[in-house]
């Protein structure tokens, strides 16, 4: 079996973060929660990368920091993670900006509702029949107001 030492625990933690992020991204219905799941997943991958450079008993890769001649950890994954963090920050900031616009336009961040409104608006713009219907599901939970589908026999707009 796998020995339960420090590095193994961290490694399992990194994989766990990645999986939580992946599960959240697929399962969440709110755009902002999907973004947070993405942030968690990115943290997991960054941790995984740093672990790839860890050397047991070594010191930081700064000359003059540890005792002279001591082994140092691998500096390259640290640079990779620095880059990955900055890239992640850029993408997350842009995601938040776009979500602000989406919220201003639609008043909601719910993925299912946005998809319905998307289909209707694109269909209206293109002049084709929208997929699906505007009637709420049985049990009386109406969807938010969307333009009604023309009735059978009526002239199409």
């Amino acid at each position: 079996m796998i020995e339960l030492d420090f590095v193994t625990i961290l490694y399992c933690g990194a994989i766990g973060l990645l999986l939580i992020g992946a599960a959240g991204l697929v399962m969440c219905n709110n755009l902002f929660r999907m973004l947070l799941a993405l942030v968690i997943a990115e943290a997991g991958v960054n941790l995984l990368l740093i672990l790839a450079g860890y050397r047991g008993g070594a010191t930081a890769p700064i000359l003059g920091f540890g005792p002279a001649g001591a082994p140092m950890v691998d500096p390259v994954p640290q640079v990779l993670v620095l880059t990955a963090i900055v890239i992640g920050v850029g993408v997350q900031a842009l995601a938040v900006a776009v979500m602000v616009r989406v919220y201003r336009a639609y008043g909601t961040l719910d993925v299912r509702e946005l998809k319905t409104r998307f289909e209707f608006e694109v269909a209206a713009e293109q002049g084709i029949e929208p997929p699906g219907s505007t009637e709420g599901p049985a049990g009386g939970r109406p969807l938010s107001p969307v333009p009604p589908r023309p009735q059978h026999g009526e002239a199409r707009p």
Partner: protein, 229 residues
């Protein structure tokens, strides 16, 4: 149904990754490139912080790419958000604690930010980290007094010139020494502030660019950006 599929997917992925990881030797990395860099970084580049020497010298092009990604994100956010709506009510001014705190912290954050930028080649730090602190310094001022917005022109000009300076140093190395982003100006004495050639200059350029960029991004997000002239 979607949840079941999601759980199956993540379960499968998790199992796969755990199986693989048990075979990888974490704790004893092969260190092919890492050991090579550790051996020669002091003499080739001259920075005490080997991570910075990898960031700015050995993998300088990656850093340029990373800088461009941040720039692209800020530009795209500016494109997406557009101008502040003229009809929007101005945000209320913050309370006394925030205003006084912002006034006190602003010079301190500036000093800390520049310290971290300039010492990036000696201790952990560098352009990106210090740049974020600089951006925070300006942004708490905006949080405290939303009516006083940051000057958009200044942000754009500093951002553009700092980025051009980074590329300019690289092009100078190309023209003078034959390779883009080759460290110039010698290595200096290890451990002093003036060492590692052009690395502190690159750090400074990165710090200014990131600082102005993030400040601009945060203000456009909060909607307090000044109108275009």
């Amino acid at each position: 149904m979607r949840n079941v599929a999601a759980i199956l997917f993540t379960g499968g992925l998790g199992f796969l990754l755990l199986v693989i990881a048990s075979q990888l030797g974490f704790g004893e990395p092969p260190m092919r490139v890492g050991q090579g860099i550790l051996d020669v970084a002091a003499t080739e580049v001259g920075a005490a912080n080997i991570v910075t020497s990898v960031l700015l010298a050995y993998r300088g092009l990656d850093t340029l790419g990373e800088l461009s990604i941040l720039f692209a994100a800020a530009t795209a956010a500016g494109l997406v958000l557009g101008q502040r709506r003229a009809s929007a009510a101005p945000d209320p001014e913050a309370g006394f604690i925030l205003r006084a705190g912002a006034d006190l912290l602003f010079p301190l954050l500036l000093v800390v930010g520049f310290y971290i930028i300039l010492h990036g080649h000696l201790t952990p730090g560098g352009g990106f980290q210090g740049g974020v602190i600089l951006a925070a310094a300006f942004f708490i001022g905006v949080l405290a007094r939303p009516a006083e917005s940051l000057d958009h022109t200044a942000i754009v000009v500093i951002e553009g010139l700092a980025g051009a300076a980074f590329i300019g140093i690289g092009l100078w190395a190309l023209l003078a020494d034959g390779e883009f982003l080759k460290p110039m100006l010698g290595t200096g004495t290890l451990g002093t502030l003036v060492s590692a050639g052009t690395l502190p200059l690159l750090s400074l350029a990165i710090g200014l660019k990131v600082g102005s960029e993030l400040a601009g991004l945060m203000t456009s997000l909060s909607g307090t950006e000044a109108r275009e002239p």
